[in-house]
């Protein structure tokens, strides 16, 4: 059986994680993984809800050791979790706090001990079969139910290695990853979990949000450091003009990073700012240093193709060729330029979903006769939110919003949700963007006249 080790080259007494200012060594990690693995229930799939990045990793690794698959739900919305739980009935939930999923048994990831664990046995690094389905990530399908994407252990390792090679990471010069992004989606999993464990690096267990948090997290861990984040957080840190400790490099993903912001960040933080482009179906695909130009360079092993008018990519670890969800034009087999989102895709603060999925969920709500989500023209720097128009006689906007809140990720909640008598459908039943913009102007006009 073809296997790859859970960990890349690493020193057992070096820190794998920093939790509340304390190091946790690779040796202690292996011992905690072995202990937890022995306690896990005999089930094929697990939903790991741990908020602490290190404890999430312990849970993920223990599940791998037991040959189990970790499911990465598309959102933490209660209904989304229950939906996954229903499709994967024989699952359990791993948690490091009070989280639970209705209908699933919960297994608790214990608090870890800090320090070097000199007495921990010299645990062997587990070998994981390359074709084992390590995780299943989900995208919102157009049919309303989440579409699963299986990721083999071999594919996760391949992406981690090619990303590490691109960034020049070596085990002899291990860095510490501090990240503002969650670890339960592909970008977070790849850059803040897989990248560190495959390169003998360390990770910061918390997840800083505000600029002050980012500053103190970076101060808490030793140099050299990598900051994994998003344009939103970079913008906040730049606006706060807060001096950050020396950072070797900053990785940004989930939304386009404006060149002007990248320039200011590079100057302020004395660090190179790279963007990572990827999507759930393929994982991380390409990188670019934002200030160096618009061209994206694919990771080693990936090749680009133009097939019947669509751009797609292939990689040895992907079972088939995958189309880009965004509009791109190729510059040869290894480079491309990104032009924008596909027509049905919406991205709010790094969360991606299809309009058809949002509309279906809206129209499934009791009392809703017709409804549509709509993204108004984006305005400058702040995040533009969705608007919804709903025909629902006898129902208030609050009632529909509270129903929506249980089925979609909060970032997609419409602001505002307008209850209207009818939608401006044309003779073929279609809703054009112009008609929706017109309806919006009409409503704003009414607001101004105080009705």
């Amino acid at each position: 059986m073809n296997t790859v080790a859970l960990l890349g080259p690493c020193h057992p007494d070096r820190a794998l994680a920093w939790q509340n200012g304390h190091p946790i060594t690779y040796r202690r990690f292996l011992s905690e993984v072995a202990t937890l693995a022995a306690q896990l229930p005999e089930k094929p799939t697990v939903i790991n809800l741990a908020d602490d990045r290190y404890r999430f990793l312990v849970g993920l690794a223990a599940a791998l050791v037991r040959g189990q698959t970790t499911l990465l739900p598309p959102s933490r919305a209660p209904r989304a979790l229950v939906q996954i739980a229903r499709e994967y009935r024989n699952s359990y939930c791993l948690a490091d706090g009070q989280e639970a999923i209705e209908g699933l048994p919960t297994c608790h990831i214990p608090h870890c001990e800090w320090g070097a664990a000199p007495n921990a046995p010299n645990a062997e690094v587990p070998q994981i079969p390359v074709d084992h389905t390590a995780v299943v990530a989900f995208t919102s399908g157009s049919t309303g139910s989440p579409r699963p994407h299986r990721k083999t252990w071999g594919s996760l390792v391949a992406v981690a290695r090619s990303t590490g090679a691109r960034l020049g990471l070596t085990a002899s010069h291990p860095m510490t990853v501090v990240a503002t992004v969650p670890h339960q989606h592909m970008y977070g999993l790849e850059t803040t979990i897989m990248l560190p464990i495959q390169h003998g690096m360390a990770l910061y267990a918390g997840r800083p949000l505000f600029p002050q948090d980012v500053q103190s997290a970076l101060t808490e861990v030793p140099s050299p450091r990598v900051l994994v984040t998003t344009p939103l957080h970079i913008r906040a840190c730049v606006a706060a003009c807060m001096p950050l400790p020396q950072v070797e490099c900053i990785l940004s993903a989930t939304a386009p990073l404006p060149v002007s912001l990248a320039k200011r960040a590079e100057t302020l933080f004395q660090s190179d700012v790279y963007e990572v482009y990827g999507f759930t179906e393929a994982g991380s695909v390409a990188t670019r240093r934002t200030v160096a130009g618009e061209t994206w360079h694919v990771l080693d092993g990936i090749t680009l193709h133009q097939e019947s008018g669509r751009c797609s990519l292939r990689a040895p670890y992907l079972p088939e060729s995958i189309s880009f969800p965004d509009l791109v034009s190729l510059r040869g087999p290894h480079r491309f330029v990104l032009h924008g989102r596909g027509a049905d895709v919406v991205n709010i603060g790094g969360h991606r979903v299809s309009f058809s999925d949002l509309n279906q969920k809206l129209n499934e709500i009791d009392g809703v006769q017709d409804g549509v989500f709509f993204l108004p023209d984006e305005t400058g720097s702040s995040v533009t939110r969705l608007i919804a128009f709903v025909v629902a006689p006898g129902n208030s906007a609050e009632h529909i919003l509270s129903a929506l809140r249980t089925v979609i990720d909060p970032v997609f909640l419409p602001r505002p949700l307008h209850v209207v008598p009818t939608l401006p459908r044309n003779e073929t039943g279609k809703l054009t963007r112009d008609a929706l913009l017109g309806l919006l102007r009409e409503l704003h006009g009414q607001d101004r006249h105080g009705t």
């Binding site: 505000f210 948090d213 995040v383």
Partner: protein, 88 residues
Amino acid sequence: MSDKSPLEADVAKLIVQTLNLKIDPMQIQPEQPLFREGLGLDSIDALELSLAISQSYGYQIRSDDPEAVATFASLRSLCKLIEKNRTK
């Protein structure tokens, strides 16, 4: 009717402007939750709001401050912290 302090009224305005909420600042009740069931704010809003607050009041919000756990619980709790930590 509003029983807001002058600071609460100002911060309510700041919230509505910063987050482009289509509501009247007067409608924000001082004890109403700002997140989820209340105004329905999320972590993107928290980040935007923290910036606006640091620019207007010189207070840098941080989430590991034990007091800050309740920072965004309501307009009132947010204003108490701003009052205590403001530098302008």
